[in-house]
């Protein structure tokens, strides 16, 4: 009786907010909108008369192209970069479920690129060997951070950040022998070792873009696989238990140290694979002069949070982030400096990190806090049911 009367206090909106799936979605949407709004304000400040046009360029991305053919090609380019971004976000998300913050995805990605390109250019290996090499390279660096965390309790964020730089300069110095004389980029695979290029399965034809390869379906399949592992398997159960409460994992006899290492190994492999999926095509070459860690791994953080830390959500968030990044790149440089594209997408990506904060606010608005209460409700319900039973 009592529960019924108080139930009325919850309106429709509150009930909706009480659903975790909806909260993730709404929070992501809110972040995107706030990010776009701030981006728009920046455009207004720099050049008010073209702000609307600029914003629409960013949002439309490939749709601004003139012909169907060009639009498809441009979409293909976005998808090519979405695949590695998705894998990086899966890498971070997977580690996050085990309570680890794999900021080292960026470095594992770099090492994966180095390993794949070394196998392709120095050893003339076919694409699948290169792919495997990238996975192993990422796994090794993941394992280092994992082992340091498990056995010496070294914070994985610290060890990851240091490994990021180690991997960048290692890869730069190893690949410097594989550039055409006088160039800072490595040889193209087309010119040196076409067998190292990923098969396209006809996707290149569909998009009219030779860079579109099996990387895209592979990344989506892996997202689904990660989702299944995390929710349906014994291994996922152990990983999450370790992440939520390492002490309880130990208490019930899980090998929590091995689980931590294994998690980082998997996270590292995903990031390593991400790089191979991008570089084993004719899309881009490695720049041996780059002095900052590529942003792919870091953007993966934003993509995983924007996707509500859900592997399937990450598919959409990774695409969205790549979409606006590419859209920003096609801003009219007559009105806006080149850097502004990066600034706008950076603002939006930055706001994506606020998803958890907004989710919490929504939870409060739904009356989900304080958390002790539902239990008392259960007690009262229990009593009410007992009484009902007695009446019969």
């Amino acid at each position: 009786m009592e529960t019924k009367s108080v139930q009325k206090d919850k309106n429709f909106f509150q009930k909706l907010l009480a659903h975790p799936g909806f909260r993730s979605f709404a929070a992501a949407l809110a972040c995107i909108l706030i990010g776009l709004l701030i981006g728009y304000i920046v455009l207004l400040i720099i050049n008010p008369s073209h702000a609307g046009e600029g914003m629409s360029t960013i949002l439309k991305n490939f749709m601004t192209r003139n012909s169907e053919k060009l639009r498809l090609k441009s979409l293909g380019n976005t998808l090519v970069k979405t695949a590695p971004l998705l894998l990086c976000s899966l890498s971070i998300l997977f580690a996050y479920k085990a309570g680890l913050f794999n900021i080292g995805a960026a470095g594992q990605y770099v090492l994966g690129a180095g390993a794949a390109l070394y196998c392709a250019l120095a050893l003339n290996m076919p694409w699948y060997v290169c792919l495997l090499a990238a996975v192993l390279a990422g796994a090794v660096f993941g394992a280092i951070s994992g082992a340091l965390k498990a056995y010496l309790n070294v914070n994985e964020v610290i060890s990851c950040i240091m490994l990021n730089w180690i991997s960048l300069y290692t890869v730069n110095s190893v690949l410097k022998d594989f550039c055409p004389v006088g160039y800072k980029d490595t040889f193209t695979l087309v010119s040196k070792n076409p067998s190292a290029m990923l098969p396209t399965l006809g996707l290149d034809g569909i998009f009219g873009n030779s860079s579109v390869t099996i990387a895209i379906p592979i990344s989506i399949l892996i997202a689904v696989a990660i989702w299944i592992i995390l929710t349906k398997t014994k291994f996922g159960y152990e990983i999450k238990a370790t992440g939520y409460n390492r002490n309880a994992a130990k208490y019930c006899g899980m090998r929590e140290k091995q689980n931590i290492i294994l998690t980082m190994v998997i996270a590292g492999s995903l990031a390593g694979l991400a790089a191979a999926l991008l570089f084993l095509s004719d899309f881009s070459q490695w720049d041996i002069n780059q002095s900052s860690v590529p942003t792919m791994g870091f953007n993966g953080i934003a993509a995983s949070f924007l996707g509500g830390l859900h592997p399937l959500g990450a598919i959409f968030s990774a695409y969205f982030i790549q979409h606006i990044t590419d859209g920003g790149a096609s801003l009219d440089t007559r009105f806006y400096p080149v850097q502004i594209a990066d600034l706008i997408s950076a603002i939006i990506i930055y706001l994506c990190g606020f998803v958890l904060f907004i989710k919490l606010k929504m939870l409060k608005a739904s009356g989900g806090i304080p958390q002790k209460r539902p239990d008392m409700e259960a007690d009262i319900k229990h009593d009410a049911e007992n009484k009902k039973g007695g009446d019969k």
Partner: protein, 537 residues
């Protein structure tokens, strides 16, 4: 003076008779009425007990008094005048102070520094410690609160830490003192001392609100008692005209058996044996457990009694495998995966999982740290020790969702675990009592040969304690060994077939539970008495 009609006639006669009045307080949360028209009136100079089970609304009511929540209905009066309390600072300004169950002290500060923290007397930012010291010493002498102002909090006993908390309130000239479950951490002797302090404070005109669910203490010290049950006001009684039975009936809503009846024990063969066990301490360089030996037989409850922090925690970590042993050996009888008995064999180097499979269950001391994955659903917590078994995991490594749900529903039914959404409730949202029931269900359902139960009734109310004790006795009567580690003397006296008292990492005595007294146990626990041969068998 303005008086509302809702105020009782008593108040009209003499409004200032009361230090604090909380009148007709109603506080709702979405989905629940946490305080439903509750009235609590604290007379000046009285000790007023607030009694209720977990989740009865005691904490909410105190949060309203401290301005952490605003009630939807009702008024609060101080000395007969209506007041508005918007935040804890308002409460402080009205002279309301509280000793929390978990002390809020800075460990590396001295007693004096802790007392003056936040209200430091100073001139232009320079501390006037001498002035503060004189005031603190005067207060401690006046109320009989023995403290050493210069000792560091980390080095002093729990009892002295509590006295520091009390002095913090007195130093701030608080008139209304709230004690939240103050005896949970004390020895019997310290409890007696606290009771005396409370009486002194009341005699000096302080008004005391004593939150507890320990009936003996309420009967010993309180003048009146207000009882809450499931958010509702049940009544206020004079302690002089009441009994333990009446109070518990008001609190729980039914008759409660304080001592669960049990048959004489019939110990069988030895199921567990510890030989010269030593375990390193986490807190200091030495040993927390020193050369301890004992046995537990089939069909008996062996209780390790002692004050918190005398090596019990480390002893359990050593037995269950959470921490490595420094030296010594462990033996246990168990069963293999086909259910066939394995005779007493050494388990010193077995990992936790193997001990568990052999038939060891462990109800841990800290249910949030070890016992549960709070962000997991209830059903996932039920399978924490058994998720890998073929009944819950297929050969390919997939969880059997349906089997897990059925198993969870069965345990919920059998152990009366209450939660908002049944098997899929997030464990974090459940009350402590139901969380504990879930752990007990999981550990007992494993059908252990040896059940290690560490403070299994911690934080539970009398009704729930009765249930827990029944489970332990059932285990014993089923011919299993039960090793109970308890800080509660009542529990020790009621349940044990044998008692081992631990003091500073050693077993200092094994008084016979049939003939020993609470006083004798207290002496052992405080290290004032010890048997010649510390070894127990």
């Amino acid at each position: 003076m303005e008086l509302k009609t809702s105020v009782g006639s008593e108040a009209k006669q003499n409004a200032s008779e009361y230090a604090i009045e909380m009148l007709n307080i109603t506080k709702r949360f979405p989905g629940i009425v946490a305080n439903d028209n509750i009235t609590l009136r604290l007379k000046k100079g009285e000790i007023h007990a607030l009694l209720g089970e977990n989740g009865a609304g005691k904490s909410t009511l105190m949060s309203v008094l401290f301005g952490l929540y605003q009630p939807e209905e009702g008024v609060i009066k101080k000395d007969g005048k209506e007041v508005k309390i918007n935040d804890p600072n308002d409460a402080n300004a009205l002279g309301i102070g509280m000793v929390h169950q978990h002390f809020k002290l800075v460990e590396i500060f001295s007693v004096l520094d802790n007392i003056i923290l936040g209200v430091e007397p100073n001139t232009a930012g320079f501390l006037k410690k001498q002035e503060a010291r004189e005031k603190v010493v005067a207060l401690s002498e006046r109320y009989g609160l023995r403290i050493d102002p210069d000792a560091k909090i980390a080095d002093i006993t729990v009892g002295m830490q509590q006295r520091t908390e009390i002095l913090k309130m007195l130093y701030r000239d608080n008139e209304i003192l709230i004690f939240d479950e103050p005896t949970a951490v004390l020895t019997p002797q310290e409890i007696d001392e606290l009771m005396q302090i409370m009486r002194n404070l009341a005699a000096e005109g302080k008004s005391i609100l004593f939150i507890s669910h320990k009936l003996n203490e309420i009967l010993a010290v309180a003048d009146r008692c207000t009882v809450l049950r499931k958010g509702k006001y049940i009544g206020t009684v004079d302690i002089k005209g009441t009994t333990k039975e009446e109070l518990s009936r008001m609190m729980v809503g039914r008759d409660v058996e304080f001592v669960v009846p049990k048959k004489e024990s019939t110990p069988g063969e030895v199921l567990f044996k510890a030989e010269n066990l030593s375990v390193a301490s986490k807190a200091h360089k030495g040993l927390a457990v020193k050369n301890v030996s004992f046995e537990v037989r089939a069909g008996e409850i062996v209780c390790i009694a002692g004050i918190d922090g005398n090596g019990q925690t480390e002893l359990v970590y050593g037995i269950t495998g959470l921490e490595p042993l420094e030296s010594g050996k462990l033996f246990m009888a168990g069963r293999d995966k086909n259910g066939k008995d394995i005779p007493l064999s050494e388990i010193t180097h077995l990992p936790i999982r193997k001990r568990s499979k052999l038939g060891m269950s462990h109800i841990p001391e800290d249910r949030h740290k070890h016992g549960l994955v709070l962000d997991y659903s209830l059903e996932y917590n039920f399978i924490l020790q058994t998720y890998f078994e073929p009944r819950f995991t297929s050969g390919a490594g997939f969880l059997k969702t349906k089997a897990i749900r059925e198993y969870a529903d069965g345990l919920i039914e059998q152990f009366d675990v209450r939660s908002g959404q049944g098997a899929i409730t997030t464990t974090r949202s459940m009350s402590g009592g139901n969380q504990q029931k879930a752990i007990i269900a999981r550990e007992v359902d494993k059908r252990p040969k040896l059940l290690v139960a560490v403070q299994p009734a911690r934080g539970l109310d009398v009704g729930a304690i009765e249930g827990v004790h029944r489970r332990l006795i059932e285990q014993r009567d089923a011919g299993n060994a039960v090793l109970l580690i308890s800080l509660e003397l009542d529990e020790v006296m009621n349940l044990s077939d044998r008692i081992l008292v631990m003091y500073e990492g050693e077993i200092v005595g094994q008084p016979d539970p049939k003939t020993t007294t609470v006083q004798e146990l207290g002496l052992y626990m405080a290290g004032a008495k010890r048997e010649k041969n510390g070894e127990a068998n």
